[in-house]
C-alpha cells in the first residue's frame, strides 16, 4: 500500500499528502501505513460507487479521527440529459422521458409534467373524474412503494438488513399492482396529457383491496421492528438535525420539513388532482431528526393507504367512465388491448382506422407523429412527491414539442443539506443523515 502502486493518483498528482485507495483489501496493512504518518486530518472520498451512499453519490469527507469536520457532495454521475432530450420529442413523448428521472416515484414525475402541460393547454377543468382518481390512486400507491424503499435502504445502510428484506418484499406487491394496471413495474409513461393511458384492467380493484388488507397486517411489523428498537433509535435519534429555519433557507420540503413539526404538504395546502376530496392527515414529528423522518414515512404510508381505499371506492362507482379528455385533438388516439400474445394494439382500433374510416387513420397518424400544439407560455405546477416539492417548469413556444422542461427535483435540493446535517458528527452518522433525506440520484442528476 504505497503511493507508487496507486494508479488512481500518481505521486505527482497530489500536493496534499499521501493517497490511500481502499477497495476491500487487508485492513491491517492500511491502518499500519496510515499509522506511520503523523497527520490526523484525513480526506476521505466515499463513493460514487459505495453501498451506503444511497446511489451514485460521491461524498468528500474531511475527518479528524472519526469526526466529520467538512462534508461535501459530488453529484452528476447519473446525469442523462433527460430535460434536453424532452425538447426533441412531442409533448406526449415527454412523459416517457421524465418518468425515468426519479425512478422510485415515476408517477410523480409524470404527474407534475402533465399537470403543467394541461395548464398550458387550459384543459385543467376538463380532465375526467376517473382519470383524476386513477392518478391519485397510482400516486399514493407509489408513495407507499417509495417510502418502503426509503426505509429499506436506510435500514440496510445502517446494518438493519431485516428492514431491507421486508421493505422490498412489500414494495414488490406494489410493483405487481403497477404492472397489472400500467403493464410495467416502473417507467410507466402512464399519466398522459389529458388523462391516463388506459382504463383499469378487469379485477384490478379486487387486487388493490387485497393489497390494502395485507398492508394493514404488514405495516405494523415495521413499527414493531423499529419504533422502539434501542439500537435503531440509538442510531437515528438526534442525528441529521435540521430545524425549520434551516429547512426554509435550504429549501427543504417533504418529510424533512415535516419532521420539524411544520405541516406543509402541497396535497393539503395547494391541492391538485382533486386531493381536497380525500380524507387524510398530514403527518408531522417534532424532533427535526432522522428518527422523526422515519416515523413520518411510516405514518404517511398509513395515510396513503387511507387515500388508496377511498380512491378504490370511488373507482368502483366509475366503471366504464372515460379516462381521457374528450377533446379529440389532444386525446391519444391509439388504444391498447390484451391479445393472445399479451398487451398490444387494440384490434378493434386497428380495424377501425385501417378498414372503416380514412379520417380516423389521418387523425391517428397526425396526432401520433406530429402531436398537438401547446399555446405559448410557461407553467409550474408543483406536487407533493414522497421526497417533497416536485415541480416541472414547462415552457412552450406554441410548438409541438416542449421548448423547455425543467424539473425542480426535491432530492437535488434536499441533498444540499448534507453538510449542515453531518458536519461535527461521526462518519457513521453521515450515512444516517443522507438516508433520512432519501435522495434518489436519478432525480438529482436527471
Amino acid at each position: 500500500m504505497t503511493t507508487e502502486q496507486d494508479f488512481y493518483a500518481a505521486p505527482g498528482d497530489t500536493s496534499q499528502g499521501k493517497v490511500f485507495t481502499v477497495t476491500g483489501q487487508d485492513w491491517d496493512s492500511i491502518t499500519q501505513s496510515i499509522g506511520e504518518s503523523a497527520e490526523e486530518r484525513v480526506v476521505v472520498n466515499m463513493g460514487p460507487q459505495h453501498p451506503s451512499t444511497h446511489g451514485v453519490l460521491r461524498l468528500i469527507l474531511e475527518l479528524e479521527g472519526e469526526t466529520v469536520t467538512e462534508a461535501r457532495c459530488g453529484i452528476g454521475y447519473l446525469h442523462t440529459g433527460i430535460e434536453k432530450n424532452m425538447e426533441y420529442r412531442s409533448w406526449v413523448q415527454g412523459v416517457t422521458f421524465c418518468t425515468r428521472m426519479d425512478y422510485l416515484s415515476p408517477f410523480y414525475n409524470e404527474a407534475t409534467y402533465v399537470l403543467g402541460v394541461e395548464r398550458l393547454l387550459d384543459i385543467e377543468d376538463d380532465i375526467p373524474e376517473k382519470a383524476q382518481v386513477m392518478r391519485v390512486l397510482l400516486m399514493e400507491l407509489n408513495r407507499i412503494s417509495s417510502h418502503l424503499v426509503a426505509i429499506a435502504t436506510g435500514g440496510m445502510e445502517i446494518g438493519a438488513l431485516t428492514v431491507m428484506t421486508i421493505g422490498f418484499r412489500e414494495r414488490e406487491l406494489v410493483l405487481d399492482l403497477f404492472e397489472l394496471i400500467t403493464g410495467l413495474r416502473m417507467n410507466h409513461g402512464f399519466i398522459r396529457p389529458g388523462g391516463v393511458a388506459q382504463d383499469l384492467p378487469p379485477g384490478a380493484l379486487d387486487e388493490i383491496r387485497d393489497f390494502i388488507v395485507l398492508m394493514k397486517k404488514r405495516l405494523p411489523e415495521y413499527a414493531a421492528l423499529c419504533n422502539a428498537n434501542p439500537i435503531f433509535k440509538g442510531r437515528l435519534e438526534g442525528v441529521g438535525h435540521l430545524d425549520l429555519a434551516g429547512c426554509m433557507a435550504l429549501g427543504l420540503t417533504g418529510p424533512v420539513l415535516r419532521s420539524t413539526g411544520y405541516a406543509w404538504d402541497l396535497r393539503k395546502t395547494q391541492p391538485y388532482s382533486g386531493y381536497e376530496d380525500y380524507d387524510f392527515e398530514v403527518q408531522t414529528w417534532d424532533t427535526s431528526d432522522s428518527y422523526g423522518r422515519f416515523r413520518i414515512r411510516l405514518d404517511e404510508m398509513w395515510e396513503s393507504l387511507k387515500i388508496v381505499e377511498q380512491a378504490v371506492d370511488r373507482l368502483a362507482g366509475l366503471e366504464g367512465a372515460p379516462v381521457m379528455v374528450g377533446d379529440k385533438k389532444i386525446a391519444w388516439p391509439s388504444q391498447l388491448a390484451i391479445g393472445s400474445d399479451g398487451m398490444g394494439n387494440s384490434l378493434d382500433h386497428i380495424r377501425h382506422i385501417m378498414g372503416e374510416s380514412m379520417e380516423a387513420l389521418i387523425h391517428h397518424f397526425k396526432l401520433v407523429t406530429e402531436g398537438f400544439r401547446v399555446p405559448a407560455g410557461q407553467a409550474y405546477v408543483p406536487i407533493e412527491s414522497p421526497r417533497g416539492e416536485l415541480g416541472a417548469h414547462v415552457v412552450s413556444d406554441g410548438g409541438t414539442r416542449p421548448f423547455r422542461a425543467h424539473f425542480r427535483d426535491p432530492s437535488f435540493t434536499n441533498l444540499q443539506a448534507t453538510s449542515v446535517m453531518s458536519e461535527g458528527g461521526m462518519v457513521a452518522d453521515v450515512i444516517v443523515a443522507i438516508a433520512s433525506i432519501d435522495p434518489v440520484m436519478g432525480g438529482v442528476d436527471r
Binding site: L120, A249, G251, Q378, G398, Q416
Partner: protein
C-alpha cells in the same frame, strides 16, 4: 391551487386569447418582412385591421409546417411564416391576491425610487410572472423574503431558458417563490443578453439556490455574480459548452435496423 383557478377565469374574461391573436398579426408584420413568401395584403376592412397593441414579445418565427426544406413541397404550407408570441404583459387589476402582492411590491419599490425595477407583469393561466430588471433582482428578492405583506420565504429554485431569437434578451433566469405564510406562489423572471450573461446571485438571500444557480450556469452559461463557488455541478468540470442552450446539439448517431437508417432525434424530420 384553488384560488388560482378562480384567477384563471378572470384572466380569460380579459380576452387574453384575442389579444394573443392580434399580437400574432402584429408580430408577423414586424418580423416576417423579407423572410417569408410575398403575400397579398389582407383585405383592409375594419375587422381585419389589427388593433394597436402594447409590447409584443415575439421570440422568433416559425417557418413551414413539416420541418423539411429542399423537398418538392407543393402544398404551399412550407412558405408559412408565423411568429412565436408569448403572453403579453397584463394591465391592472390582475385579480385576486395578485394585486395585493403587486401593490405591496410597488409600495416598497416606490419608497426606494426603484419603481422601474419591475419591467412588466404577465398573468397567464392563473400564474403571475414579474419580469424584473437584473440589477434590481437582489433587492426585489430580499423584499419578497422579508416584507411582511409578501413573505416569500421559500424559493423553489432557478430555471434557465434560452431564447436564441429574442434579441438582447436571449437568456432568461426564472425563479419560483412560495409564500408559505400566505400560501401564494409567484414567478420572477430576469432576461439578459447572451453577450453579457451576468445575473446577480441570490445565494446570500436564498441559500437553497446554491446548486440551482450552479446547475443553471452549467447548462446555460448564465454567470451568477456573487455566487460563492460557481462551478459545474452536473457535467464534468472540463466539459466544453453549456448543454441546455439551443445552439448546443443534442448529439447521437444514426441507428441501423434491418437495412434502414434512423437519424438521431435532432436530425429527424420534425414538426416545429
Amino acid at each position: 391551487m384553488t384560488d388560482d383557478k378562480t384567477d384563471d377565469k378572470s384572466d380569460k374574461n380579459e380576452s387574453a386569447r384575442p389579444a394573443e391573436e392580434r399580437n400574432l398579426e402584429a408580430a408577423k408584420d414586424k418580423t416576417g418582412t423579407g423572410t417569408g413568401v410575398e403575400q397579398a395584403a389582407p383585405e383592409q376592412s375594419p375587422e381585419n385591421v389589427p388593433a394597436p397593441t402594447g409590447e409584443v414579445r415575439a421570440v422568433g418565427v416559425r417557418h413551414g409546417m413539416f420541418g423539411t426544406s429542399g423537398t418538392g413541397d407543393t402544398s404551399g404550407y412550407g412558405g408559412l411564416v408565423s411568429a412565436k408570441v408569448f403572453p403579453t404583459p397584463t394591465q391592472k387589476p390582475y385579480g385576486g391576491w395578485f394585486d395585493e402582492v403587486s401593490d405591496a411590491l410597488e409600495a416598497r419599490l416606490g419608497s426606494t425610487d426603484l419603481t422601474s425595477a419591475i419591467e412588466s407583469v404577465v398573468v397567464h393561466r392563473g400564474e403571475i410572472t414579474f419580469h424584473v430588471r437584473r440589477e434590481d433582482l437582489p433587492f426585489v428578492a430580499q423584499m419578497l423574503r422579508d416584507d411582511e405583506a409578501l413573505r416569500f420565504e421559500f424559493c423553489s429554485g432557478v430555471s434557465g431558458v434560452h431564447y436564441p431569437d429574442d434579441a438582447g434578451r436571449e437568456l432568461h433566469a426564472v425563479y419560483h417563490f412560495t409564500s408559505m405564510t400566505h400560501n401564494r406562489r409567484i414567478r420572477v423572471e430576469v432576461s439578459v443578453p447572451d453577450s453579457d450573461p451576468h445575473v446577480p446571485s441570490l445565494v446570500s438571500i436564498y441559500p437553497t439556490l446554491d446548486w440551482h444557480e450552479r446547475e443553471t450556469y452549467d447548462m446555460f452559461g448564465l454567470i451568477f455574480d456573487g455566487h460563492p463557488a460557481l462551478t459545474r455541478v452536473l457535467m464534468p468540470d472540463d466539459w466544453p459548452g453549456h448543454p441546455q442552450r439551443k445552439d448546443y446539439p443534442l448529439g447521437g448517431i444514426p441507428v441501423e435496423y434491418k437495412g434502414g437508417s434512423i437519424p438521431p432525434p435532432d436530425q429527424r424530420r420534425s414538426y416545429n
